[in-house]
Symmetry: C2
Subunit: 223 residues, 2 copies
């Protein structure tokens, strides 16, 4: 018996998402359909019957996998939140030598192009609309979203300050300024005006460049 044989007996026990048995496939179908419907119609606006129908699954099966509408909702929102947060984290461009401005711009653009996406915007609207009903979900979104990005940014700025490439008092505040200089304009626009108001890539680059310009004017050392 090989050393990894102990896994074979319980292929589904761990690694929640993976697996391709019938049950796992149905589960994925339910999650996919529920995600669409919740994002489109909101928590109260969504019915379990519709989720079942859209998943091509019976209502019973939905309830076999998820104990309640609430549980299904929480599962979906937290996993989407985590995925999005990870995306921002993983796609970090290298600190490659070269121009600081260029580096900051590429980071800003990356973040913009992950966040300013119909799905992510719908998630944000959904969670914000449910702050009163699901405060934990909003808190998680805040921590995995802005908070996490601010952490990354502020430690990056600290390093840059040590190298004399930035002149920074509180790196946390600098990170906030950077983040919102770049994101807030398009973010707020798209939050309220809907997904058609999401800027195209070229425009996102402009936002990134303008934000970085102002940031460096305030925090840069190269006068």
């Amino acid at each position: 018996m090989a050393a990894w044989d102990w896994m074979k007996g319980t292929p589904e026990t761990q690694a929640e998402g993976a697996g391709d048995g019938r049950s796992a496939r149905k589960r994925q179908a339910i999650l996919a359909a529920a995600t669409d419907v919740f994002l489109r119609d909101g928590y109260l606006g969504t019915s379990m019957d519709e989720i079942a129908a859209l998943s091509g699954v019976s209502k019973q099966t939905v309830y076999k996998h998820f104990s309640s509408k609430e549980a299904l909702f929480i599962e979906i929102v937290t996993s989407m939140t985590n995925e999005t947060g990870d995306a921002v984290h993983n796609e970090m461009p290298d600190i490659a030598g070269g121009d600081l401005a260029r580096y900051l711009e590429s980071y800003a653009y990356l973040q913009l192009s992950i966040v300013l996406t119909p799905r992510v915007m719908q998630l944000r609207r959904l969670v914000i609309g449910e702050v009163a009903r699901f405060p934990e979900l909003a808190q998680v979104l805040y921590e995995r979203g802005p908070q996490r990005a601010l952490g990354i940014l502020s430690s990056m700025f600290e390093r840059l300050a040590e190298r004399g490439q930035l002149e920074i008092g509180d790196p946390r505040i600098a990170a906030e300024h950077f983040n919102w200089l770049v994101m807030s304009g398009p973010l707020n626009r798209a939050m309220l005006l809907g997904d058609e108001a999401i800027p195209k890539p070229a425009e996102l680059r402009r936002y990134a460049a303008e934000g970085v310009r102002v940031f460096l004017a305030a925090y840069g050392t190269a006068r």
Copy 2:
């Protein structure tokens, strides 16, 4: 007959909100109760029975004043949106001589203290959560909120640039940068973390000061 007598015959015909007849009082009671409930429970989460009960009015009376739940909701959101927008507009501090930084700080603080209010935050959450169902409401909020403030700011910056007190390329972009430098941090925090996360006045002043500092570093002329 005095010149103003022509008004006496139809005291309720104009001036929607004013008036103190029985009917007008009930109408106000309904609006007040409905505002509370909608802000607390959202559009779908609110029932007309609860509004009637909380207004101390019969359901019939509610429907005599407002043709449907939707109409009542729209009325409430638009009027709250307009009131808030007007508040920002009316409370403009004077362009008094004296320090530019001080002036910008006081403007920033004023805007912060109007927006970072439980009611206004709840309104924002409500409208954002209903973007898909009521896109017009979100659009109105965007225009009467951020858009209007940006208009005021950018014409103000234009004047200041003409006087040589600021050095500005596109005043619209400068206005966006100013606005979000000051507001985004606390706004996003409070949107997701709830009303207890609304900073106290002292902290709002700090946000105003930090934002203005960065803004002037990028756009100021006094080096």
